[in-house]
């Protein structure tokens, strides 16, 4: 139960100035920060206004009571309404939730969407607790915190006259009652500058067998990945961690400054995501490989195990966000985007994006690159992230920053971190290679060899008996090629 909340004074002062200068009668937006169940405290780093919706309407407006003859808020001066004791807020809850969903994808470890804020008069606020609670709930569902999810979020009210900040703790019970909102202590302070930075690369290699079962007959690639990642969460949660080369054993407070590297240690060959079964028919195998780069930011009073938990959360969230982005895209332009399918030369399949393919009926190798993650400097040395599709450039990232986070577009591209390389779309392996544990993920070293190997595999299916033979040929070709290049260079 969060009892006290500290807001970052430098940032919230800016917010307050911005609000007091705006002419809007009311404003709603997201609270970015962190709730710590261990410390019973909340930290607020920034408030981000929800942008206008697709129809150009504000997410929040003030509804005058029916007896009032004047029109709704838009044409009158906001200050004059504050005296009206019966006005209430109208909030586009779905839109705020959608904003939360998009923003939560940009968050990193230890920085979350932890609630909403509202800029309104005391009376309006009082008349609108129900809709505010519903909005908080919608936001909580859209941007769920994964690890030991607290069933509470913050509702910050900035009252314009008298100018006052109040914070309430909203319990996310199934039915909203008057007791859902509890006041909690709110004060301003400096929290951002004392944050500790943790960084982690997480390399994974998931093999997800596709079973010849009726139940899985209609599963799309995205369904399979979603299930696979969800099952994988347990394994990742149990992982041991090292910080700067030292095993995390005791729950200590991190005392040294600077960037801390986290290394995650997983059990050897104890893949829990493989169901225990005696024998099952399979139609294929999905292999999800690659690296996730993750950051997490820790308050000075929190323990290092919290940093590890935040990193794990961030890794899972980043993976799931990428899947969501792929799905969103597939929904938006199903069939029109031919860039999604490169592999398919078969006409019957070209209508659907790869992510929506039903694997059972798919008899060809296919591959799909998930978006890569980039990091943008945010407040006081922290980062937020974004996921870019292979076709997208940094311009997309700038748009997201401006639109969703209401921050200035980062001008200096050199300050943007791009730790993840675009993944290669290369199928140099056969089914029989892919099912072997720890088979080396072949990553050809140069462009030309990639062409050759992909041709090789597209031509024939490789049977286990002649795998070695084919592999030998590939290696031979590769070595000839590499030799050739070297000779030419010299």
């Amino acid at each position: 139960m969060v009892k006290a909340v500290v807001g970052e004074e430098s940032q919230l002062q800016l917010v307050e100035d911005r609000l007091s200068q705006s002419s809007a009668p009311a404003q709603v937006g997201l609270v970015i920060g962190k709730l710590s169940s261990g410390l019973d405290r909340g930290f607020v780093y920034d408030l981000v206004p929800t942008p206008q919706n697709d129809a150009g309407q504000s997410a929040c407006s003030v509804l005058e009571p029916a007896k009032d003859n004047r029109k709704k808020g838009s044409n009158s001066k906001p200050k004059s309404q504050s005296s009206d004791s019966s006005s209430s807020l109208v909030i586009d809850k779905e839109w705020v939730a959608e904003h939360a969903r998009q923003v939560s994808r940009m968050m990193v470890g230890g920085i979350n969407v932890v609630g909403i804020y509202v800029w309104a008069s005391e009376a309006t606020f009082k008349n609108s607790t129900m809709v505010l609670c519903q909005t908080v709930k919608g936001v909580a569902e859209a941007a769920s915190l994964l690890e030991d999810d607290l069933d509470e979020r913050l509702l910050i009210h900035i009252c314009y006259s008298p100018r006052r900040w109040t914070c309430r703790n909203c319990t996310l019970s199934s039915n909203i009652t008057s007791s859902s909102l509890r006041p909690c202590d709110f004060k301003m302070g400096r929290v951002l500058t004392s944050l500790q930075t943790f960084k982690c690369f997480y390399n994974f290699d998931l093999r997800l067998p596709i079973y010849q079962e009726k139940a899985s007959k209609s599963e799309t690639l995205v369904d399979v990945l979603h299930n696979g990642i969800s099952n994988y969460v347990k394994e990742l949660r149990g992982a041991k961690a090292m910080i700067d080369g030292n095993l995390v054993v005791n729950d200590e407070i991190c005392t040294t400054d600077g960037l801390h590297e986290i290394e995650l240690l997983l059990p050897f060959m104890k893949d829990m995501y493989i169901e225990a079964c005696s024998q099952k028919d399979v139609v294929g195998i999905v292999n999800l490989t690659g690296s996730v780069c993750s950051f997490s930011f820790l308050n000075s009073k929190e323990t290092i195990s919290q940093a590890v938990a935040d990193i794990k959360d961030d890794i899972i969230r980043s993976l799931l966000s990428r899947l969501d982005i792929i799905c969103d895209e597939a929904d938006e332009d199903a069939g029109t985007n031919d860039d999604v399918i490169k592999e398919t030369r078969n006409d019957s399949l070209s209508e659907k994006p790869v992510s929506q393919l039903v694997l059972h009926s798919l008899r060809k190798n296919c591959n799909l690159s998930l978006p890569r993650r980039v990091f943008v400097p945010w407040l006081a040395g922290t980062f937020i992230s974004d996921h870019l599709q292979p076709s997208e450039t940094l311009e997309v990232l700038k748009d997201h920053c401006v639109e969703l986070m209401s921050m200035e577009a980062p001008n200096d591209a050199s300050k943007i971190l791009e730790p993840e390389e675009e993944s290669l779309r290369v199928t140099a392996r056969s089914f029989w290679d892919a099912v072997l544990p720890y088979c080396s993920t072949s990553s050809p070293s140069n462009e030309k060899s990639r062409e050759i190997t992909s041709k090789e595999t597209s031509q024939k299916t490789i049977k286990p008996s002649n795998v070695n033979f084919i592999a030998a040929i590939i290696i031979l070709l590769l070595s000839v090629l590499v030799g050739f290049i070297f000779v030419r260079k010299s």
Binding site: P209, A276, S291, R363, N365, L370, F431
Partner: protein, 645 residues
């Protein structure tokens, strides 16, 4: 044959040669010990017409022998020319070492060839310096150590690594013959991965006391060195305390204070727990964003998941660096066990799913533990398992009437609190082995023969059940059954009075009205219940008068030597449990170690011993009073140890 100053140390509790022994025994030593130190012997149980079957022998010994111990020679029982026999022994030992290690050049390794005379039991030891020279040196200086446990465990420790592996294997349905090849490739991939630089070995102490003090240590696969041969491992000086984690010695995790000699045993050894983890944040020059590939199976394919539960126990001296312990002991141990399990799984890979599980035992007479892989899908009493245990008993020279290698007797290696003493174990509120530490009997020159193993003391009024005046025989029976339980002959709970009565009614000895009554039972009833509940048969000795009992002393002593079970004494009035006799054959003087079930006090050893409820009784005490009454008859019930393994 030239004189030399070599000497052989024998650190095994028994190196006894009897006529019935198999004629070849492997001598076990360790690279950590001074050369030519024998710590145990394994009998060779697979041999062809003249030579041992090295392949079969090596497979079994590889499983059985902890890493950190090895075969250092052989002993042949024979009457022919000792020199020639010794040459044969050395050759056999070299062969076995070669198969075990997979190495071919064993040039400069000293091998012991021993020859035992089957009649006299005399053993002569020869040493072969290296393979090329055919000459053997006779070693005359042979020393036997009275306390091999101390030798092994004073500076030694155990390393335990548990590694469950789930191995997915895909195979084409219409070509199931491929599965073996694919399975083998998968195993090879795992073996290669164990040596991968990204694998991380986590070492921690496994007892609570050190767990609080000593932080776990991480050894990275990249730091491991697989080249140096075991004998060259440098021991680290304890004084040279290295700050670098990988160079820490095993002793870093061991308890420093171990002065009491009875703590030197495999059961009390310091155990280092090693876990195998995979570093998923390894550094790599290229980090690609996640990508998905789908590989459809082009033919009908089936997925088989094979479960392995590897559990490797290794012996190491505390001075060796952790990184060597891992690269030289743990990893080879894991690989060998995986290969053993693979061989056991392979023949029926698609039809059966054996549940293989390694267990570790520390049988009496062998100072070091051994590892055995059991197949759990069979019951322990099934013939196949009994045969497996029988051959193990044979190899280790264990008696065939003790269930020493049953799972219940395996070493408990889980994390435990060593500070608590053995007398108050969890799960049992009853006192155990109350006779330990009581004053001696006072029989001069007597030989003491005692019950073998543990029992619980049952007496009147226990468990809030008032049986004073009638329940003494029931209590004695409970004590006897607890002995069978604690020796792992049976897992049945110790029966209550009512359950004892019920079983007597069940076999038709008593009427149903007997249940819930306060009727006495005697030695004969006890034998019925033991037979019914445990399948244990008993011998009964009758004496017409208490004064005849001393005549039976020799027989009772023999019972304790060979059977070692507690004896129930019933008869005219009172029932007792007899735990031992102290008998001087020359003078005929004797005393009986009596555990008296009539005690009604609290379970306090001091009170029990001071009150004489457990103590030595002479037939006629110093005041001329007879313990066994002259005018009463007595029945002595001697439960026989089941003849099983």
């Amino acid at each position: 044959m030239e004189k030399n100053n070599k000497s052989i140390r024998i650190e095994c509790p028994k190196l006894l040669i009897t006529r019935n022994e198999s004629d070849l025994q492997w001598l076990i030593g360790s690279p950590f010990f001074p050369p030519l130190t024998i710590i145990s012997t394994f009998r060779c149980i697979h041999s062809g017409s003249s030579d041992p079957d090295f392949l079969k022998e090596s497979e079994e010994i590889r499983t059985l022998l902890l890493k950190g111990l090895d075969v250092i020679g052989a002993l042949i029982v024979g009457k022919s020319d000792p020199q020639k026999t010794a040459v044969r022994a050395v050759e056999a030992a070299r062969n076995l070492r070669r198969v075990l290690s997979g190495r071919t050049n064993l040039e400069n390794e000293e091998i012991i060839g021993a020859v035992a005379d089957p009649d006299t039991g005399d053993i002569r030891f020869f040493v072969s310096e290296n393979e090329s020279s055919a000459s053997l040196d006779l070693v005359n200086s042979v020393s036997y150590d009275a306390n091999p446990e101390k030798f092994l465990w004073e500076s030694g420790c155990l390393l335990l690594c548990q590694l469950p592996i789930k191995l997915p294997v895909c195979f084409p349905v219409n070509k199931p013959s491929d599965v073996e090849c694919i399975f083998s490739r998968a195993i090879e991939a795992v073996i290669a991965k164990l040596k991968d630089p990204n694998v991380v070995y986590l070492v921690e102490a496994s007892n609570k006391a050190s767990l609080d003090v000593v932080q776990p240590v991480i050894i990275r696969g990249a730091d491991l060195d697989f080249d140096t041969t075991a004998p060259n491992i440098e021991l680290l000086d304890e004084a040279a305390h290295s700050s670098e984690q990988k160079l820490l010695p095993c002793g870093h995790f061991c308890l420093k204070s171990k002065s009491t000699p009875h703590l030197f045993s495999a059961k009390n050894a310091d155990i280092l727990q090693v876990s195998v983890l995979l570093n998923r944040s390894e550094k790599s020059p290229k980090r690609s964003a996640p990508a998905v590939e789908y590989f459809p199976a082009m033919e009908e394919t089936r997925l088989l998941i094979v479960d392995f539960k590897l559990e490797v126990l290794c012996y190491a001296v505390q001075g060796i660096p952790l990184m060597h312990a891992i690269s030289k002991l743990i990893i080879p141990g894991l690989i060998d066990q995986l290969i053993s399990m693979k061989q056991m799984t392979l023949p029926n890979l698609l039809t059966q799913h054996p549940e293989l599980h390694p267990y570790h035992f520390s049988p009496p007479g062998i100072a070091h533990p051994v590892t055995v892989i059991y197949e759990l899908s069979y019951g322990e009493t099934e013939m196949k398992q009994v045969d497996a245990r029988r051959s193990l008993h044979m190899r280790l020279g264990l008696p065939f009437d003790r269930p020493l290698l049953r799972i219940a007797n395996s070493l408990d290696l889980s994390i435990k609190d060593r500070s608590s003493t053995s007398s108050t174990r969890k799960g049992s509120s009853f006192l155990k082995d109350v006779h330990i530490g009581i004053p001696s009997s006072g029989v001069s020159g007597g030989i003491v023969s005692l019950v073998q193993g543990s029992y619980e003391y049952y007496h009147y009024l226990q468990d809030g059940f008032d049986d004073s005046g009638w329940g003494c025989a029931y209590r004695s029976l409970q004590t006897i059954i607890s002995w069978f339980r604690l020796q792992h002959y049976s897992a049945v709970d110790v029966p209550s009075h009512r359950e004892i009565q019920q079983s007597l009614v069940d076999i038709g000895d008593k009427d149903p009205a007997f249940i819930g009554s306060r009727e006495w039972i005697g030695a004969i009833e006890l034998s019925f219940v033991l037979d019914k509940l445990l399948g244990v048969s008993c011998k009964v000795i009758n004496v017409r008068s208490g004064s005849e009992l001393p005549e039976k002393c020799r027989e009772l002593a023999f019972h304790f030597e060979t059977q070692g079970t507690p004896i129930m004494i019933g008869g005219g009035v009172l029932a007792y449990t007899l735990l031992g006799v102290d008998y001087n054959e020359a003078t005929g003087e004797c005393a009986y170690l009596i555990l008296d079930p009539h005690y009604t006090g609290s379970d306090d050893v001091k009170k029990i011993v001071n009150g004489g409820w457990c103590g030595w009784k002479k037939s006629v005490d110093s005041k001329g009073k007879s313990f066994f009454l002259q005018d009463k008859f007595y029945n002595l019930l001697l439960p026989q140890r089941p003849n099983m393994v």
